[in-house]
Amino acid sequence: MRDVAVVGIGLNDRWGELWEVSLRDLVVQAALAAIKDAGVDHVDSMYVGCMSSGLFTGQEHLGALMADYLGQAPVPATRVESACASGGVAVRQGFIEVAGGLADIVLVAGVEKMTDVTGDRATYALGTAADEEWEAFNGATFPGLYAMMAVAHMARYGTTCEQMACVAVKNHENAMKNPVAQYHDRITVAGVLDSVMVADPLHILDCSPITDGAAALILTTPELAKKLKRPDVRIIGTGQASDTIALHSREDLTALDAVTRSAGAAYNMANKKPRDIDLCEVHDCFTIAEIMVTEALGLVEKGKGGPAVAAGETAPGGRIPVNVSGGLKAKGHPVGATGVAQVAEIVAQLRQSAGDRQIEKARLGLAQTMGGTGASSVVHILEAK
């Protein structure tokens, strides 16, 4: 297996409600930015992570669409779907193709165009990441499922609504320094707790937003990275795992086993431990998710995710900064783009080029994204060489 370097990163200029930008232009903007950042004149293959362009825009077959509108047809182009983990799994597919020697330069993009439909239709599209027949049919919404994880976590470990709110406050603060982020506004714990209830105990400010956005990476070999004179940032570990599609079938409703297993595989491949990691981008689709993911990744002790965020352990300058980009909560969550953008953020940090939000001396970073209520999870560990 060959080593794999990330030599190009790109996001479209701003994430949010981009009524003036189409699905195809979004993904092309991000892909072009990554291609220019890498300084490559062609790609051998491409992947695009996207959860539900069919339900959001009526358009499927995004691989061919992207290749065509990038002027890169006839290269092989593949869409990857794994619900909210689509982008992360697309990164893994690109990694596999370079590592396996089938391609030398691979474009990995992610995109979601979510604001062309009403809130009801967006909610329906997102709900398809859960068990459509046995969860959604009976009235469970996506926030409702995470709310039930929160209630179970609160009952077992004493996690509080205030601690969950601290996740949102931290990630909004972080997004202030990210020009791409959907939100540039500070919020308070009291403000989160006063915001409208979505699914008890989750308020609207506990939830990540509906976002239009795209992100892209160029993956290649360390040898080509050197020729391109790009900083040598490598993906040194990748892991992926699945779990039951329905939350109710999980033995422990307070654990995210797929996250733990995907992280275990990535740590093992990278030969690193949780305490070695300098910063993380994780899947905070809801505030309780960040708390449970930090536990599942082994960054904090089981049940201590709430106290850790409240104590500032996961803030920039804390023991292990989490979601310095603003996370899904405040940077925005264009579903298929999220996993790709997380890796782009880690690469920027490891290049020491993250501007105002740079974590000093960051050498080793981790990106984690998950689909549904954690029925799939993918983890990448990156290192500056």
Binding site: E135, F137, G139, G144, M148, V196, M197
Partner: protein
């Protein structure tokens, strides 16, 4: 859900039929073709006892379109006494009064009306006993 989809699921949605693994005895609801406990592929259909207890719960304040008129409503994960776990609405109690560990019984109820055709879809909801 399509008319054919709701029709083919009558046994599980209307009669609470689970598939009990012939090899390891694990109860599966809804029925499936492969046992996730032992990968056996033969099962015997049995109706679940309609009683269980609440493992976790929430109150939905922002409902999907099909449930607009019912909001706010309670949803819970219930562990049935035969073992399977389900996600369903809990009715007949003020939503804020749900508690982990509460005993419930499943009742046959109207769940939602399907799209413009207005096909009424039935299933189960839980009531606190």
């Amino acid at each position: 859900m399509s008319t054919a989809g709701s029709w083919r699921e009558y046994p599980q949605r209307y009669r609470y039929e689970a598939a009990v693994c012939d090899k390891c005895g694990k109860w599966h609801f809804p029925p499936r073709l492969v046992c996730d406990g032992c990968r056996n592929e033969t099962f015997t259909r049995k109706a679940m006892r309609r009683t269980g207890k609440i493992l976790t719960h929430t109150v939905i304040h922002m409902p999907p379109a099909a449930f607009k008129d019912e909001s706010p409503y309670a949803v819970a994960i219930i562990e049935m006494d035969d073992g399977p776990r389900i996600t369903t609405q809990v009715v007949g109690i003020a939503p804020g009064e749900l508690k982990i560990g509460q005993r419930v019984r499943l009742e046959f109820r109207r769940v939602q009306a399907d799209g413009e055709a207005g096909t009424i879809l039935y299933g189960y909801k839980a009531v606190v006993v």
